[in-house]
């Protein structure tokens, strides 16, 4: 449906994309996640045909974005970052203009505009000038114009950038709803946004695709071992002997009133040892006030892959 194959892109001496490849299946909602300057926008600009790749290919529904660009663009809805619009036009006039650009005839145009206005909750402002709208409404107008021709593929570049928390929540629920019946690629540097909307996450950093999969797959593949946090009323030596720990396995610290804090790594063969550990402390008659398993999150994986830190939870 959407494919990008071994794409390289240079801006002068800067190697912005280094052999990025991925493919989205029909109906898949994927998030392109990466820190600023990672290559997200370049990837999107190549997929939308705004810029050509230096090597490699990209296509939308089998139409090459370079050699068959017009057909590829006809299948595509695109919301650029911060939804650029003509401030002097009214919402309806702008949607009318965009639908004419896509060559829709009068009847199709009327129903398409009505549908887009309804789906993007623009009924209240359809007669108002775009320049007089809030940023949240402008984003929605941009989104409405991107879905006017009912594209099979929707690409959104940082759709919640610059919005306030309420507007972000509204935009997210709108994007989620739109993703129910089409293939969608959303670029963002905000992890919770991607986690909430997308079933697949593509992590890019320094021009490379560092990870690709569902959140669970990313954690399984790239997450570090889980950690066990214990707080027990005993000395550190006693806690270590109960747990059978060597010094290198854990960090321990003595707290006030005789409590000890232990932070240890779980062994690969026993990902969740809480029940066994609880039994050990009970057998030694040592009170325990905390026994917590900390597993890697997508954020840990993202930080590890994007910034080269260890993926410790």
């Amino acid at each position: 449906m959407v494919a990008i194959d071994r794409v390289h892109k240079w801006y002068g001496r800067i190697h912005a994309l280094r052999g990025v490849s991925f493919e989205l299946r029909p109906g898949q909602v994927a998030g392109l996640l990466g820190p600023n300057g990672a290559g997200k926008s370049t990837t999107i600009r190549i997929l939308t045909g705004l810029i050509p790749p230096d090597t490699g290919r990209a296509n939308i529904r089998g139409h090459d974005t370079l050699s068959d660009s017009l057909r590829a663009r006809a299948k595509l809805g695109y919301l650029p970052e911060s939804a650029p619009l003509y401030p002097e036009m009214s919402v309806r006039a702008y949607l009318e203009y965009r639908s004419r650009l896509f060559g829709m005839d009068r009847t199709v145009r009327r129903s398409a505009i009505g549908r887009a206005i309804e789906r993007c909750w623009l009924k209240d402002v359809e007669g108002r000038r775009v320049g007089h709208l809030s940023k949240g409404y402008r984003q929605r107008v941009g989104l409405a114009s991107a879905i006017l021709h009912d594209p099979e593929v929707l690409i959104l570049d940082e759709p919640t950038n610059g919005l306030d928390p309420t507007q972000i929540a509204q935009m997210r629920s709108l994007v989620r709803e739109l993703g129910s019946d089409r293939t969608m690629l959303i670029s963002s540097h905000i992890l919770p946004e991607i986690e909430q909307i997308c079933s697949r996450i593509l992590i890019v950093a320094a021009g490379e695709l560092r990870a690709d999969g569902s959140p669970a797959e990313l954690i399984a593949r790239h997450g570090g071992p889980a950690r066990l946090i214990v707080e027990a009323r005993c000395t550190t030596e006693k806690a270590e002997s109960i747990l059978g720990l060597r010094e290198s396995d854990a960090s321990t610290s003595e707290l006030t009133n005789g409590w000890t804090h232990i932070d240890s790594r779980c062994a690969a063969h026993e990902p969740d040892p809480r029940e066994r550990i609880a039994a050990l402390f009970a057998a030694a008659h040592v009170p325990v006030r905390e026994l917590r398993l900390v597993t890697s999150t997508v954020e840990d994986v993202f930080l590890a892959l994007a910034h080269g830190r260890g993926a410790t939870p």
Binding site: T48, G49, R73, A74, P80, R100, L101, G103
Partner: protein, 240 residues
């Protein structure tokens, strides 16, 4: 073709949604009106619109760059070029649409000046010769459209409206002033090229009421080539 018309109409309407459009028309009509009232509408003088065409021709120098400077530069600056370039429209259609919209605005600016020949018709005896008047208007339109195509190229090259304005103004000035520059010291080939690019002799002939097909072809062909150049300038942005 539909896309060209859609873009042209949006462009044309946009001139009337911003103050610049109204200000340009108002200043143009004010200055040409003043010339008409003081230099043409004089009792005892022969009925001719030559002073009007002369001043209107010179007014094209600041007016046309003011119209054309925003065609693409504004779209680059605000980012609205992205939805346009990702729509299923050819770059050539986009350039043609923008140019057509600006030309329609130029026409809308010239239409009210038809009041001058009409007034002259009503008040002067003998009536003015329609030939030079028609030639004058054809000349203004061709000159304006050529200048607009220069402006379209300039605007497609930069996101700065000021730069697009100045580039258009200086190229137009250069083309008008070529005959005034001493070309004797230049090699024969260079003299020929400069004369072929020169605007004044052609515009001058029109002002005298001479409609030379060669001149019309020169204006139309130059405008066409400049629009091709503007398309290439727009496409080159994708490769930068």
């Amino acid at each position: 073709m539909t896309a060209v018309l859609v873009i042209a109409l949006r462009e044309f309407r946009s001139f009337f949604r911003i103050p610049v459009g109204w200000i340009v028309i108002a200043l143009f009509l004010l200055l040409t009106g003043a010339v008409f009232a003081t230099a043409i509408l004089v009792p005892g003088q022969p009925a001719t619109l030559r002073p009007f065409f002369a001043i209107a021709g010179w007014l094209m120098l600041p007016v046309v760059p003011a119209i054309s400077m925003r065609l693409f530069s504004e779209e680059f600056r605000t980012g609205t070029i992205e939805p346009l370039l990702t729509s299923p429209i050819r770059d050539g259609s986009l350039v043609l649409g923008k140019f057509a919209g600006a030309s329609m605005f130029l026409l809308a600016m010239l239409v009210p000046t038809l009041a001058y020949p009409l007034t002259l018709w009503l008040v002067s005896d003998p009536s003015p010769d329609p030939g030079p008047i028609a030639a004058g208007y054809i000349s203004l339109l061709l000159l304006g459209m050529l200048a607009l195509s220069i402006g379209t190229v300039a605007s497609a090259c930069t996101s700065s409206q000021t730069l697009a304005f100045l580039a258009t103004l200086f190229v137009m000035l250069g083309m008008l002033l070529v005959p005034s520059i001493s070309t004797q010291s230049l090699p024969l080939g260079a003299q020929r090229i400069l004369n072929a690019l020169s605007l004044s002799p052609r515009a001058g002939d029109f002002a005298k009421g001479v409609v030379d097909t060669g001149h019309i072809v020169w204006f139309v062909a130059s405008t066409g080539w400049l629009l091709v150049l503007a398309t290439l300038a727009l496409q080159s942005r994708r490769w930068r």
